[in-house]
């Protein structure tokens, strides 16, 4: 079974091309092909999971073919499968499959339907390639392909300037992090002399890599994850990524793009745990991201952006967990989060599909019109907030426990963020589905989505409800990802039960508070907002991060203007033009020399030859007696010379 894993990304890539080229003649304009591949991948991943749980697979599995050689090194093309890979494969294929099914309804009638499915397949293929790759080169290629796909899909409706802008923003911002990733990758190669993941992990495990070098490489690599997984301060692209179609948002936020960064850190975890500094960087970046994103979500009125901030916040959680040493916790959260965040986005997409607006202030009371969407959204919210016994509770609880074990400050960030999460999700839920209709026209127009959209919602809701409980039973997930390694720091012994209890209580209370405030006392939030206008504005402006980056752009603009003027007025004027002036003078000199010396010499040769010819031509009279005369003269002269002496 593992021997056929390599087919999965290749087939996906092929299908992306096939849909683009022949989609017109395929059933469902090519959607069927993409769905079929995703379904097959999901089934295969599921089989692998079951077999791995029964101990029927020898992990890690590795197979490769040589790609090219450089110096003594060899790059390979191959697959590397372990528990982490299988877990990721399930997430990617499951979400991709459901998103593609859901898109049948959501994207119906879109003029670029075929292209949309091609991009989705490419996106899935890149993510699958990234997941199963056995070396960091292919990993990096797929990593970049994921970026390209996000650009294509976020800017899918490129007629909208904001969508085109958002696509560019996502691409450029992540590229900023990818620079660090590339440098990190090369420094890792410098340390280990290989790109193969298994060898890197082995070398890290036996302590071949010096901790300082490992830390530097790990932090540089983490820069890539900061861009890809929208960590502080490169999180600015993700809210704007909401310009893409909602299923794309679900795919990006749940399974593919943002998960790539977390997956990368998990993949090279053996390198990270060599350096406490790198671990701290990851943990604190995650903590700050979690808190800032959650706070931004408090004041946002765009339904999808609230979810986007929540995604950033949850990604921060994952990084926090990984950095704090909670390897299993972080990946567990990645898995459960994939389901309920995909669910929330798809449900939000369903709402937006119905009311044609993103603004929560124009919604309200939609639960009457869209019961299935409401129920699934509610379940997703409960899972995200961490109400027991829904999925998020189990994973978030583990993260908080890991954070507390590492440092109380990290735990404080996590706990506050958990409360904020419960609050803003309650706010979003209430504003969208409860209360009174704010916009009667839109309310009356609203309707439940077709089964092809609600079906995936129901499946995801089921996954959101049970995945946390099911996967934490008998430590299934922990056994699957199977972390073996020595953390670079001591963890404190904490009571898991207390943390869980506190987390549950906080979630329930905070969510209740949010629901009560926005449902029964809508005046209070408005009043607070008016009172703390400065803070609200700050949050609205995302702590000025956008302005900060724009400022950087402006500064670099003016810097380049200065450089330009230096270049134009100094370098060009003096160095280039002066050089040109000199060159011209010199070539004039050369020309004079050429004309008067070289050419003259050539002409002189010609002239001499000409005159010599004119001279000797006289001998050629055409008179036979002349020639005879010369013969006779020669004979007589030779004879005279011969006999003059003797």
């Amino acid at each position: 079974m593992l021997e056929y894993v390599f087919i999965l990304p290749l087939l996906s890539f092929a299908v992306a091309g096939i849909i683009l080229a022949f989609g017109k003649w395929l059933p469902g304009k090519g959607a069927s092909a993409g769905i079929a591949v995703a379904a097959w991948g999901f089934v295969q991943a599921l089989f692998m999971f079951v077999k791995a749980m029964r101990g029927g697979l020898t992990l890690p599995y590795e197979a490769s073919i040589p790609w090219f050689s450089f110096g003594p090194h060899q790059a390979t093309l191959g697959v590397y499968v372990d528990g982490l890979t299988i877990a990721m494969l399930i997430v990617v294929t499951a979400v991709s499959l459901l998103v593609q099914i859901y898109s049948l309804g959501y994207m119906r009638g879109d003029p670029r339907f075929k292209r949309y499915y091609s991009y989705l397949s490419l996106f899935t293929a890149s993510m699958l390639g990234l997941t199963v790759s056995d070396n960091m080169l292919v990993f990096f290629m797929c990593w970049e392909l994921v970026g390209v796909c996000s650009y294509l899909l976020i800017g899918f409706w490129f007629e909208k300037p904001s969508a085109a802008y958002a696509g560019k923003k996502a691409f450029i911002t992540t590229k900023l992090g990818d620079l660090g990733f590339l440098v990190g990758l090369l420094s890792l190669f410098y340390c280990t002399g290989t790109f193969r993941i298994s060898q890197i992990l082995e070398l890290a495990h036996i302590g071949f890599i010096p901790p300082a070098a490992a830390g530097a490489a790990a932090i540089l690599l983490f820069l890539g994850a900061v861009g890809k997984s929208a960590q502080f301060p490169l999180l600015i692209w993700l809210p704007d990524a909401m310009e893409g179609p909602s299923p794309v948002s679900a795919l990006i936020h749940a399974a593919t793009m943002v998960a790539a960064g977390v997956y990368m850190v998990a993949r090279l975890y053996a390198v990270y745990i060599l350096s406490p500094a790198a671990m701290d960087t990851v943990a604190w970046t995650g903590a700050i991201t979690a808190f800032t994103a959650a706070s931004m979500a408090l004041v946002c009125f765009d339904l999808k952006r609230v979810l986007a901030f929540s995604t950033v916040s949850q990604l921060g959680y994952m990084m926090l967990a990984l950095g704090a040493g909670g390897f299993t916790a972080g990946l567990f959260h990645l898995t459960t989060h994939a389901y309920f965040k995909a669910l929330l986005f798809l449900a939000a997409g369903s709402v937006i599909h119905a009311v044609h607006s993103n603004d929560m202030r124009e919604m309200g009371a939609l639960k009457n019109k869209m019961p299935i969407t409401y129920i699934t959204f509610l379940l997703g919210t409960l899972a995200l907030v961490g109400i027991p016994p829904f999925a998020g509770f189990f994973s978030k609880d583990e993260i908080l426990a890991a954070a507390l074990a590492r440092s109380p400050y990290l735990y404080a960030f996590g706990a506050v963020t958990a409360a904020l999460t419960a609050f803003y999700m309650a706010r979003a839920l209430v504003m969208t589905f409860h209360g009174t209709p704010k916009d009667p026209g839109k309310y009356n127009h609203a309707h439940e989505s077709p089964p092809v959209m609600t079906g995936p919602l129901i499946l995801l809701a089921a996954a959101s409800v049970v995945s946390g409980w099911a996967l934490s039973r008998h430590e299934i997930f922990a056994r699957l990802v199977n972390f073996e390694g020595v953390l670079p720091f001591e963890l404190r012994h904490i009571s898991h039960g207390a943390v869980a209890l506190y987390a549950g209580i906080t979630a329930v209370l905070s969510m209740g508070l949010g629901a009560w405030l926005y449902k029964a006392r809508p005046g209070i939030p408005a009043m607070l907002r008016g009172k703390f206008a400065a803070i609200a504005a700050l949050l609205d402006r995302r702590y000025g991060l956008d302005a900060f980056f724009l400022k950087i752009v402006a500064v670099s603009d003016s810097l380049s203007a200065v450089l330009f003027s230096f270049d134009f007025n100094f370098l060009d004027a003096i160095a280039i033009d002066g050089w040109a002036w000199l060159t011209e003078k010199f070539s004039r000199l050369q020309r004079w020399f050429d004309d008067n010396i070289v050419d003259a010499a050539v002409d002189a040769t010609g002239t001499v030859t000409l005159f010599a010819g004119r001279l000797t031509r006289r001998a050629q009279t055409g008179l036979v007696q002349n020639y005879l005369f010369f013969v006779a003269a020669a004979v007589s002269i030779f004879a005279a010379m011969a006999f003059a002496t003797g």
């Binding site: 050629q620 009279t621 055409g622 008179l623 036979v624 007696q625 005879l628 005369f629 006779a632």
Partner: protein, 101 residues
Amino acid sequence: MTLSHYLALSGALFTIGLFGVLTRRNIIGILMSIELMLNAANINFVAFNRFLYPGQHLGHLTVIFIITLAAAEVVVGLALVMTIYKNLKSAYVEDYNILKG
């Protein structure tokens, strides 16, 4: 009479012939001068045979061959002269320069 007498005579005859070849304008005159030179050579052959190798006949044989070849030469030469004369209407060699570039 000694050998050098005959050699001197043939030398004089040859030089006169040579002068004629170099200076006669008429093509027939040139041919006649060539005959003079050939005869000078013949005198040499016969004289050498007589004075240095008496009793042998190679010199005589050579002279006979030369006479025969001279006859052939004159026959062909005069035929050519007649052809050229018919075409160019001139017997003077300075007019025979149509091959001059």
